[in-house]
Symmetry: C2
Subunit: 369 residues, 2 copies
């Protein structure tokens, strides 16, 4: 194989597929990037068997062929080359010569034949969405997936399409995040659970333009994201996702409207008094036109008043400060509405159009504190 | 004690003295910042017994007194407060109330009486130098101090003043870095060894302006840096510094002039083939109008030619790439001169005015490679 392409084009491609290279594996071939030019395109591929990414880059093919190169080393070499044309040439022993201006690297590769190709995905069911929207939806829900594998379904996110609405849900047993978005067209009903890792890697590669589209294809076992010159294929998580409808009551006893940044800054200050692993709740005392936020830990105590608009009853309730903060950090609205029922029932942060709903369970506290 | 000062002024002061708070200590009082208002100024002090920093901040003293507050917590609280006036008020149980707008923190402090004050330094011998110059000199030498305590003197830097010249030297057994700078006035002879940690912390606090001065005072056991509203006192390292003069030959067999950035980029590329702890040298082959740089490790091989201007003999010599890179990264000149004798003798990178000299020992290599 012999190809010539610009350093910048090569680096862009390598950085894209690098997201699917596992950091630890017992199979050295998975740590490689495949360069395949057998089909008139220069294709770069990485595949950790759960998640696979393939991208096409511009360049000249002087001699067809393919080779697998150790991904970290290859990407570091490309990154450090001068900003010029790069030639990659391989021999029959799978050795690669990488030339750029006067620099010449010789590194050992592996046969491209040993590389596991991405699964073929039948392109039947698909939806189209802007890259910007997909990136936003992921950012606004990914934080509440579970980070351990005890319940596999909790490590993924529900993607459900109903007519022209895409609903994305994540939950970890303490909270639920829901984002809904209107699609330009109507589609058949689809309901799948996508691994959280896949979504966070996809979101890193998406350029995020409002006018740039991404096509998402669904099969029984896989999801395929297609955008720009790139294809991301991932396995789905199998099983029936949690029924969340019954938890989403719209009744409430107390509603407060509050400046988001003021509340966020205040909880961030309060969090200074909670060490990692410590389960100290913040206590919110909702009164007529202000709420009082209190925390009392072995480090010290803190309290602060914030102005609110309130309808309904007064209420005192405790929360894990991190759970509230996670939701506040991804909401872009200047003021938010918080709906509550009683100190034992979940609170809801949601907008009027129901574009987002964040449900957070309260924690018990000693009201005498 | 009761004081009022702006959040920004308080934060600046806290960040300055925080550099002298040890990250680990068995004495909790050393993890504190002392706020002392007994002398009509608001003084913040931190002191790890080797290095002490004291700074004055603007503000109103409503009630004189002093208190020691846990440094990390106090600095985090101040950082997270709204950008407004901060009131700090203490009671007789050494509890502190920190108020800012509607936020109120209560934290436990320690008696200011338990705090170890900075040693009194007699202000006899001193020099004046611009903050910019001192910061530059430290940056350009600090990388070649030894990072372990086997030889205490190697963990510091020699500061030697001879007439109107300040010479700063660091060495770690493999290399020597020397920076000389002309002072505005002439001073008595001074020769001390300053701990590397002190210098790197001082360099972080210095604003670095060319017109901002720093006064440096010397005693037998201490060095004192005085600038802006801040005083840094550090113990000196005791003992006789290494005699380096006999190693600094100006004879050479080969001199090459080379573009610094080209050489640096090339060695950075070559370093990709050397893993941490691996002792593979880069081999430099100096020929008539170019040098060839080669490396050959178990990861792969690399070679590259760079144009040079040469006088003297051809030469092949091996180096630890990191040692050359460390020196190149701190030199600001576009082209540099490298002086060599033979493959066993140190090489010198130095400018014509002798403002800087970097001596680097070569490593043995197998010329057949």
């Amino acid at each position: 194989m012999k190809i010539i392409c610009s350093k910048s084009e090569l680096l862009k491609g390598v950085n894209t597929v690098l997201k699917a290279v596992p950091s630890k594996t017992t199979m050295p071939i998975l740590e490689c990037i495949l360069i395949d030019t057998t089909e008139d395109d220069i294709k770069l591929t990485a595949n950790d068997m759960e998640l696979g990414i393939e991208t096409r880059i511009k360049g000249d093919i002087l001699d067809k062929g393919k080779i697998a190169l150790e991904a970290r080393l290859f990407s570091e070499i490309i990154r450090k080359l001068p900003d010029s044309e790069v030639t990659i040439q391989t021999d029959e022993q799978c050795r690669a010569l990488i030339k750029c201006e006067k620099a010449r690297f010789n590194i050992a590769g592996k046969s491209g034949e040993d590389f596991a190709y991405l699964p073929e995905i039948e392109r039947h069911k698909n939806i189209a969405i802007s890259q910007f929207s997909l990136k936003e939806i992921i950012r606004q829900t990914i934080f509440s997936i579970a980070d351990n594998e005890t319940n596999k379904l909790m490590t993924g996110e529900l993607f459900e399409i109903d007519q022209n609405e895409l609903k994305v849900v994540s939950l970890d047993g303490h909270r639920i995040s829901i984002r809904k978005i209107e699609l330009k067209e109507s589609y058949d009903h689809i309901k799948v659970v996508v691994p959280g890792k896949t979504l966070s890697e996809v979101s890193k590669i998406l350029s995020g333009g409002i006018d740039d589209e991404v096509s998402i294809y669904f099969t029984d076992r896989h999801i395929l994201f297609e955008f720009d010159e790139t294809m991301v294929v991932s396995r789905l998580i199998e099983g029936e996702y949690f029924r969340i409808e019954q938890m989403l009551s719209t009744d409430y006893e107390t509603k407060m409207t509050i400046n988001k940044k003021e509340l966020q800054d205040c909880i961030e200050r309060a969090s200074l008094l909670v060490k990692e692993g410590d389960k100290k709740p913040i206590i919110i005392n909702i009164l007529d036109d202000y709420m009082e936020l209190k925390i009392n830990s072995y480090i010290g105590s803190m309290n602060e008043d914030i102005s609110i608009e309130k309808t309904g009853k007064d209420l005192m309730i405790g929360f894990n400060p991190r759970f509230i903060l996670d939701a506040l950090r991804v909401i872009d609205d200047e003021t938010i509405d918080i709906y509550l029922v009683n100190p034992k029932a979940p609170c809801f942060i949601r907008d009027e159009e129901n574009h987002y709903v964040y449900l957070i369970l309260p924690v018990n506290f000693n009201p005498g504190v």
